[in-house]
Amino acid sequence: MIHDMIAIFQDYWLLLLIGQYPNGPLGGLANTLILSALSIALAFPVSILMALARISKWRLLRWPVTVLVYVTRGVPLLMLILWSYFLVPLVTGADVPSFVTMLTTLVIYQGAFLSEVVRAGIVSLGHGQMDAAKALGHSYLGAMRYIILPQALYNMIPSILSTFVSTIKDTTLGYVINVPDLTFAASQVNNQLLTQPFQVFLILAIIYYAICWSITFLANRLERRITRKRAGLGGGRAAEALAMPAKIASEQL
């Protein structure tokens, strides 16, 4: 069994790593990581904009985004992927590559989740910080940028990492719309071998586990460091702000 797995790995490691590339599109683990990294890199600023919209005093901004966040959080990701896959080409008439469909869906999905963390981080700072900023003459956006967000986001670092972990796991769903990722590569391997599905998918699981575990490990260490640093620095408010993302981080895996 172990021998089978080593043999499979020796024969197919390149396919698992980069898919059909350079004879076909980039796939495999490389594509999984690129897709995850791009999603989180885009979801992060999107989540800040969504959070700002949700605490905005303008209803025209607040309501649509609130609805979007609620719907996104209340619907399975697979459903969102299928909607994007079938509806977007129907509505726009354009032929969107499955990678882009998957990326967009993940950005909105993870952006909605992260925006709740950002919002909680902002709200838990209390009014005092914004009052002080205003009293000194800072504009609303200036206060957000230099005073509120740096505090809220610093506390969020662990939950950004854990969102990264769940994004990596979520990319496997791209399989249903033929995104050539690691899962897709593994199923190609399985189709060629036909007789060893258990071994193939065990290799797949081990790879995912190793990656996700490493990032979670990193997130937990960071989280502890931040807790310690904040305990030395901030008052009770900072500790409260931290409690929430920290909880999310430990719940993800």
Binding site: Q129, D131, A135, L136, G137, S139, L233, G234
Partner: protein
């Protein structure tokens, strides 16, 4: 009440007929009052009487329902661009009961960041100025500490330095010593006294009657949203006219 007052106008703040309600509850009732340039006014009154609300309307942290508040001849509550409001606010120093320092910035950054970001002062100048101000409030050695590493009294002195860094002609204080342990009250009051001695225009909500007696030019006594008495400290402490003021002072002495 349209003011085009010159800088020679002897009035720093003119509060005219200001009323404010929270829902159906009227917190401020037709307040009329003035603070002259260089004057130190102490505002006192029972808890919940509207002192914080009043002082926060002066830099428009709270909106009002009617009336006007002139600062340097400009109505702070007139409809205006937010940039104009920010500009006005930057010239009114405000010190909070709970300090509200920025915990993610070092002490010197707390003091220098607003001149840099709001007034466009070059960073090295703002930094040097911040060090001078910290020296002035007796905290030169804490410049590179973080607020969480300071005592309450030290934090409040940093907060005063932070407000002074914007070079405001007027300083507002909302119970600056109420959140402090008793042994730290003195160090904050000493800084406020030195400010007053230099001729700063100050409006201080405080229950420190020693400070009021020594430093204030006038005392406003507020109860239930009305200024019931405006008097010099001598008059107020020796011969308060309003029965509520008499009761308030009697309660304080116990």
């Amino acid at each position: 009440m349209t003011g085009t007052a010159s800088p020679q106008d002897p009035t720093a703040i003119r509060i005219s007929n200001v009323s404010k309600t929270y829902g159906t509850y009227q917190v401020l009732k037709e307040i009329d009052a003035e603070v002259a340039r260089g004057e130190v006014v102490v505002v006192c009154g029972p808890s919940g009487s509207g002192k914080s609300t009043l002082i926060r309307t002066i830099n428009r942290l709270e909106e009002i329902n009617s009336g006007s508040i002139l600062f340097d001849g400009q109505n702070i509550h007139a409809p205006m661009k937010t940039s104009a409001l920010n500009q006005l606010r930057s010239r009114i120093g405000f010190v909070f009961q709970s300090f509200n320092l920025f915990p993610h910035l070092s002490v010197v950054e707390n003091v220098s960041m607003s001149p840099i970001r709001v007034k466009g002062v070059p960073a090295h100048k703002a930094h040097d100025k911040a060090l001078l101000l910290l020296d002035r409030v007796g905290l030169a050695d804490k410049a590179f500490s973080y607020p969480g590493q300071l005592s309450g009294g030290q934090q409040q002195r940093v907060a005063i330095a932070r407000a002074l860094a914007m070079e405001p002609p007027v300083m507002l204080f909302d119970e600056p010593t109420s959140a402090l342990d008793p042994e730290m009250v003195g160090e904050v009051l000493a800084v406020m006294k030195s400010l007053a001695a230099e001729g700063m225009t100050m409006l201080c909500v405080t229950h420190e009657m020693g400070f009021a007696r020594d430093v204030a030019d006038r005392i406003w006594f507020i109860d239930a949203g009305r200024i019931l008495e405006m008097a010099t400290p001598e008059e107020f402490f020796s011969n308060p006219k309003h029965p509520r003021a008499q009761r308030f002072l009697a309660d304080l002495r116990h």
